[in-house]
Amino acid sequence: MRRLRSVIPALIPLLVVTAAAELAVRYGFVKSYLVPAPSSVLRAMIESRAELFGALLTTSVSALVGFLLSTVAGIAIAVFLSSSRAIQRAFYPYAVFFQTVPIIAIAPLLVIWFGYGTRTVVASAFVVSIFPVIANTLSGILSTEPALRDLFRLYGASTLVTLFKLRFPAALPQILTGLRVASGLAVIGAIVGEFIGGQGLGSVVDVARTQQRVDKVFAAVLLASVLGLALFGLINLVSYITLRRWHASEQ
């Protein structure tokens, strides 16, 4: 109940803005073909609900798969990078590449490699979301307290044991931070991939745009935001469950 009540302050600006937008369009201050009235967005959502929710499902699956892949690969790469300074210096710059490459530019390349369909969308979500996982996981692993590492050395623990029993659990809060960022990016990556690859919410946005259906565009964008929020909430839930007994952030 407390959690529900804490959501109310966040809803107030939303209600105010929605009401203001509705009035602005209705009384002609803002042209409806530039900014759709919230009521028309709602209507579009209801009218095209089968199409929109089908697209939402498609995008959700692609975003989720891309996100899971970048979680696994990102953590694995970070573990690899953490093994030595020389390896970090050799390979970390290439990881940064994932952060800086503009997905719009490489999406057509992804289509050539993976074809038109889900694989391209998943690849796009993966490319866009992997870097925060690598960066945060690596940072978490490397910032284990030296005293604890000494402790493990004292009792003869191997590097691998130290990794799994000490560095990994200690890095968990930071890994989860990385996952929070990556989850939103995975949705963005999926949508961009869908512009090029042609399915899901991205496709709905693209097609509606060429039809000059701004209301439908907004409806699809709204659903994409909901998807991003849902993924974010999922990570928060995982964080709560795993950290609640011992980490300050969940207390």
Partner: protein, 311 residues
């Protein structure tokens, strides 16, 4: 009336778009990169007609019709069906000059597939890349059905997917992408969309209704300059092609020249020889409006003579 005057005083969103523009400057927003379809616009003698025109090149998805409606450009280039849809939504834009008298939209396929018509294409399987939301695509869907082919988004001017796959068909301008593909060694065949009965004016110069009312003299001057520009371009495209090629190096110079040549029959027809380059008829607009209504792309049909103005 009260609503209109409020729009003039209040810092409405549309006015924000006008910030930073020097007084008297006219912006012309193109809906693609500089290429032969805009030749006449680049060749036009604007200064001789007392106009200070800035051409804004576009690309994939440039929202020219919204830009004109919002006032971030005084003139824009759109296709006629876009204009009809926009008008039906309350966007007061008016067509002044139609570059392509006939719709140059088509679907290009690999000649090796030995297809005879659009009907064949949609029965033959494979992939067809088109912009699904465009009215012509919806017309094709209605007429031929898309269940036997895989529809994917159009890659814009990029023909690499087409070149890589014999069973890939792609939306194009009849005199443009096929020439590029031939230049790269492909053997192509093109089916005009107009064969299916869909033939809107294309590459149409439009302006907003408010600009037309506020500044009819400059609108007239603009059309005159554009008409002269197209005449000049048709007679000798080389100097303008050079200018445009510099702005858009993605097309080879030979292809530029080839396209400029191939597009002539779309621009100069018996109609234009009678009534002048860029002229339009009410009948053509009315046909288009009826087609769009049938397709369900518009709810309310605008009046045909509201859609265009002969200046």
């Amino acid at each position: 009336m009260h609503r209109r005057s409020f729009l003039r005083i209040a810092p409405a969103i549309a006015l924000l778009a006008n910030c930073g523009k020097s007084p008297g400057k006219i912006r012309l927003a193109l809906n693609w990169k500089p290429d032969p379809q805009f030749g006449g616009f680049y060749a036009a003698p604007y200064q001789a007609h007392g106009l200070d025109v800035e051409i804004l090149p576009g690309g994939a998805g440039t929202p020219t019709i919204q830009m004109v409606g919002a006032g971030s450009a005084e003139f824009g280039v759109v296709s006629a069906d876009e204009l009809v849809v926009a008008r039906s939504q309350g966007n007061d834009v008016v067509a002044l000059y139609a570059v392509f008298q006939n719709n140059p939209q088509g679907i290009m396929v690999h000649a090796s597939r030995k297809l005879a018509s659009l009907a064949d294409l949609f029965k033959a399987g494979g992939t067809v890349a088109l912009q699904r939301g465009l009215p012509y695509a919806r017309l094709l869907e209605k007429k031929y059905g898309f269940d036997k082919v895989k529809i994917v988004p159009s890659p814009g001017g990029d023909i690499s997917a087409f070149l890589a796959d014999k069973n890939f068909a792609q939306q194009c301008f009849i005199m443009s992408e096929p020439l590029t593909a031939k230049h790269r060694g492909a053997d192509v065949q093109v089916f005009p969309v107009s064969d299916a009965g869909y033939n809107p004016y294309t590459t149409v110069l439009v302006t907003s209704g408010s600009f037309l009312r506020k500044d009819p003299d400059r609108a007239k001057a603009m059309v005159a300059a554009v008409r002269e520009g197209w005449r000049a371009y048709l007679d000798d495209p080389k100097p303008t092609n050079q200018r445009m090629n510099q702005l858009n190096p993605s097309m080879a110079p030979e292809v530029f020249a080839g396209v400029a040549d191939a597009q002539k029959p779309f621009i100069e027809t018996d109609e234009t020889r009678r009534n002048g380059l860029g002229s339009m008829t009410e009948e053509r607009w009315q046909t288009l409006i009826v087609q769009l209504k049938e397709l369900g792309d518009i709810q309310q049909a605008p009046a045909a003579d509201d859609c265009y103005r002969a200046l």
